[in-house]
């Protein structure tokens, strides 16, 4: 589970990164630059990178926020 936020610093300014975290961060950056996916990027980034949640219901809810 990814708990480290690659965008925040820890250990005296040294960013905690993991290979997965870096790659997923790149994906979310690409989402942010895509007009069709930019609106859902912040939620999906938070769920995956900060909360470490990969369950399908949560990802689905993030992809389709208007569904209830």
């Amino acid at each position: 589970m990814i708990k480290d936020d690659p965008k925040t610093a820890s250990l005296k300014g040294e960013a905690i990164t993991s290979v997965s975290g870096d790659i997923l961060g790149e994906f979310f950056d690409a989402m942010r630059d895509d007009t069709d996916l930019a609106d859902i990027e912040p939620t999906l980034r938070r769920i995956v990178l900060e909360d470490g949640v990969f369950a399908e219901p949560a990802i689905r809810a993030a992809l389709f926020p208007n569904e209830s």
């Binding site: 820890s10 250990l11 005296k12 994906f27 990969f54 992809l63």
Partner: protein
């Protein structure tokens, strides 16, 4: 991460009580098999993770940390099995910390100080248990199947999260896409019903408005200009009920009846018959060529893949790491690719037929409901039976297998029972419905058509939403694939380049053009290496076992370097490189020393020569090693430490066991002699088997030390260092006396005979001999730090005689001129 300063191990594995001072530097534990070296590895791993990987994993059934972590004599007292590490944390400016863990409370170590940054540092280490590398893991990187290697490498690089999210995105995308045909079918059906209600062949905004306005004119309502999203055809009808009229209108009944007859006709039309025929041909091909089992298997695998939730197999609940399940099935599905294509083609034909069966079923349903509402009752049982048959046909076509059953259904799929009586009853009953007044007819039309329009709009919205969701999910999955593939390829390209650099460093004498290829594909990681410019092959194809060991180490280092970069501050290498020859081991030392100057390596090896390589190449310095000579259940490992040896020897003499005391003395002096020869750069007669006996080493060591004292004294005289001269002179006198007492001159004559005489001595005769050798060997060490004196440098002109603490630091080169 961390650097280990000190380890204290108590009643853990085979160790009773052992303290090792690593001081944050490289350290080596050497000793024959079964002397406790791996116990040190287990202790480090346990202290940092709470686990001992040697007691888990494949082939370790019945073993556990709880049961087998404590020393066997303390197996029922796990609270006494304790490992404590004193560490420094480079990222925190060298902050000191301690972690202490007992087997009884393995999950809750005591960490001091419990500061958040310290806890985080230990947690980071716990998340990277790959800091311990044994040959078992090393060889997995090199020789395993691509799927297994992918798993090992991805686990080391912690890429499981990448696969996990990929699986979820794929599942969502597949589900959204799969839902579209049904949504389209529902919209199409709603459109047809709307058209039937309007009495027009095709729905269009203009035709809807035209028909509605005609009825609105009858009712004196304003004309609708344009049909928009919220336009209501019954606008202005008043505040009466918006529900459909309770009575059955002739208009609606006629429309439904007409629609029903049209669906029956369409079911038996040429296009549907043709689809049935083509489907039957393909199904027949499957059955004729004996491929039913393959189809069943492909069906099972495809279904399992769709239902895989990223955690475990949906069939047998076996847990699978993300990506591993898909990889596991991918190969099987690849072999069934052609039958998968045949299946897809068949399902496409069946899709047309199924849609028509659904439409017919819906129309039958409508008539069944109508039959109950008509003033003149119509016997609906034939319709009910027909509906049951349609459902059965649909269910089998949806299932597809067994194929013979599907073929049976296809032969009757478009059959319609004789409904002539039912149709006639409906026609009569509908005809007898009262003609509504023009006003009522117009009102009913607007209300019912508005219902159909709203239903059509709802189905249109659902389809639009479904298409948007499918498009978004597909785009997200596609983008994810593109970004992660590119990132992974870059990672593997970086690792591949670094790996090749390290390997060339080890093998620069004959493979200085070496290259490698890491070949990622879905769930797999191929690994090919250059073989002397003849092409790239798997490592096990042509390279020797020793070279493969080197490759495993280099790949591990490349991966760790990529993963941790400057946080790669320590690693434990547990007897790796067993098959690597002496020359390449020297190069390994150079690699580690030059490429990883900030990494603390902790080695274990059974090979004393390898330990000497590490020391002579400067990879392990000073007292940075523990050399175990024996192990017992009662005492655990015993080092070649002078203090321990003399205590043990006294113990033997106390028991009047001169034989054991003599054997211990001989072995110790052999070990001592080798060490002294190495440190003092003594001239020893060469033996290609490196089996140096006592007589081979003791005299050369003695001569080398005497020579060093003499040179140091003469050098001190030339430099005018009076105090040093006095000190060395005193030591030389003591040395001379010690040699005499130890009968050193007799070693020159016949060492073997001299030794054998010891076993015949009585205790009172042997004891002074042992004391004499004790005094003799002490001359070789510094009185302050007890470290054996060494000539520096290790090669070339001898410049100095030194100890570890600096108390002995004498020039061997005199003043020139």
């Amino acid at each position: 991460m961390i650097r280990i300063q000190k380890i204290r191990i108590q009643e853990f594995r085979g160790i009773r009580d052992l303290t090792l001072e690593l001081k944050g530097a490289n350290f080596a534990a050497c000793g024959p098999n079964g002397t406790g070296k791996s116990g040190i590895v287990d202790a480090i791993e346990f202290a940092l993770t709470g686990n001992i990987s040697r007691l888990s994993g494949a082939g370790t059934g019945g073993l556990s940390v709880k049961a087998h972590g404590p020393h066997v004599d303390y197996r029922n007292k796990p609270e006494h099995a304790v490992v404590s590490l004193e560490v420094t944390i480079p990222a925190l400016g060298g902050k000191k910390a301690t972690v202490t863990r007992t087997v009884k409370a393995a999950a809750t170590p005591k960490i001091e100080p419990p500061d958040p940054d310290v806890l985080e540092a230990f947690e980071s280490v716990e998340q990277h248990p790959e800091f311990v590398l044994s040959r078992r893991e090393l060889i997995r990187y090199v020789l395993s199947e691509p799927g297994a290697r992918s798993k090992e490498v991805q686990a080391l690089l912690r890429l499981e999260d990448i696969e996990r999210l990929r699986g979820v995105l794929q599942k969502i995308s597949n589900a959204e896409t799969k839902a579209l045909p049904k949504l389209r079918s529902l919209k199409h059906e709603a459109e047809k019903q709307l058209a039937a209600s309007l009495g027009i062949p095709e729905v269009s905004s203009a035709s809807i408005v035209a028909e509605a306005n005609r009825r609105r004119a009858v009712l004196g309502l304003a004309q609708i200009e344009k049909l928009e999203g919220m336009t209501s055809l019954r606008e202005g009808l008043g505040t009466g009920s918006t529900a459909a009229p309770v009575r059955i209108t002739k208009l609606q009944a006629s429309a439904d009846f007409q629609h029903f007859r049209e669906t029956l006709t369409r079911l038996q039309s040429d296009p549907i018959e043709k689809a049935c025929g083509e489907a039957e041909t393909k199904a027949s091909a499957l059955e004729m060529e004996g491929r039913i089992e393959e189809l069943d298997r492909e069906t099972l695998l495809t279904s399992a893949l769709e239902r895989y939730d990223g955690m475990q197999c949906p069939v047998c609940d076996t847990p699978f790491e993300p990506g591993a399940f898909e990889a596991h099935l991918a190969g099987n599905l690849a072999r069934l690719e052609d039958i998968g294509k045949l299946r897809a083609s068949l399902e496409s034909d069946l899709g047309v037929l199924k849609a028509e069966l659904v439409a017919t079923g819906n129309a039958v349903n409508t008539m069944i409901e109508l039959a109950d509402k008509l003033p003149t009752k119509v016997e609906a049982q034939p319709l009910i039976d027909f509906r049951t048959a349609l459902r059965g046909r649909y269910a089998q076509l949806a299932k597809l297998t067994p194929i013979p059953d599907t073929r049976s259904v296809l032969t009757v799929a478009t059959e319609v029972p004789d409904l002539s009586d039912v149709l006639e009853f409906f026609a009569t009953a509908i005809q007898s419905l009262p003609e509504p007044s023009d006003q009522d007819a117009a009102r009913d039309f607007l209300i019912l058509t508005q219902e159909k329009l709203e239903h059509y709009r709802s189905m249109s919205r659902d389809l639009a939403a479904g298409e948007a969701s499918a498009a978004r999910a597909a785009k997200a999955f596609e983008l994810y694939g593109a970004v992660t593939t590119k990132a992974l390829e870059k990672i593997y390209a970086d690792v591949e380049a670094t790996f090749a650099t390290y390997y060339r460093k080890i093998n620069e004498d004959d493979e200085n053009s070496f290259t490698a290829k890491l070949l990622p594909s879905l769930g797999k990681l191929g690994f090919d290496v250059d073989f002397y410019g003849r092409g790239h092959f798997p490592p096990g194809a042509y390279h020797s076992e020793g070279h493969q060991d080197g490759m495993g180490l280099c790949l591990y280092l490349a991966l760790m370097n990529h993963l941790l970069k400057d946080r790669f501050t320590f690693a434990v290498l547990d007897d790796v490189l067993m098959s690597v020859d002496a020359g390449h081991r020297r190069q390994v030392c150079n690699l580690l020393r030059e490429m990883f100057p900030h990494t603390q390596f902790i080695f274990t090896t059974h090979d004393e020569i390898w330990l000497r390589h590490m020391r002579s190449e400067g990879l392990v310095k000073g007292r940075g090693f523990a050399h175990f000579r024996t192990w017992t259940v009662e005492h655990g490992p015993t080092e070649w430490d002078g203090r321990n040896v003399w205590e043990e020897l006294d113990g033997h003499l106390a028991m009047h066991d001169v034989r054991s005391a003599a054997a211990l003395l001989r072995h110790y002096l052999e070990h001592f002699g080798k060490e002294a020869c190495h440190r003092l750069r003594a001239k020893v007669e060469y033996r290609s088997d490196a089996q140096f006996a006592l007589e081979d080493v003791l005299s050369p060591a003695t001569s080398a030390l005497g020579d060093a004292f003499k040179k140091a004294r003469l050098a001190a005289v030339s430099w005018g260092q009076t105090a040093v001269v006095e000190r060395i002179t005193a030591i030389e006198a003591a040395f001379s006396e010690a040699k005499k007492l130890a009968n050193n001159d007799r070693w020159q004559v016949n060492a073997a005979v001299h030794f054998n005489e010891w076993t015949n001595l009585r205790v009172e005769d042997f004891r002074p001999l042992a004391q004499a050798f004790r005094s003799f060997t002490e001359i070789f060490s510094c009185a302050s730090c007890e470290e054996m004196l060494s000539i520096s440098p290790g090669r070339g002109e001898k410049e100095g005689l030194r100890c570890g603490c600096g108390d002995v630091n004498w020039n061997l080169l005199g003043k020139k001129g």
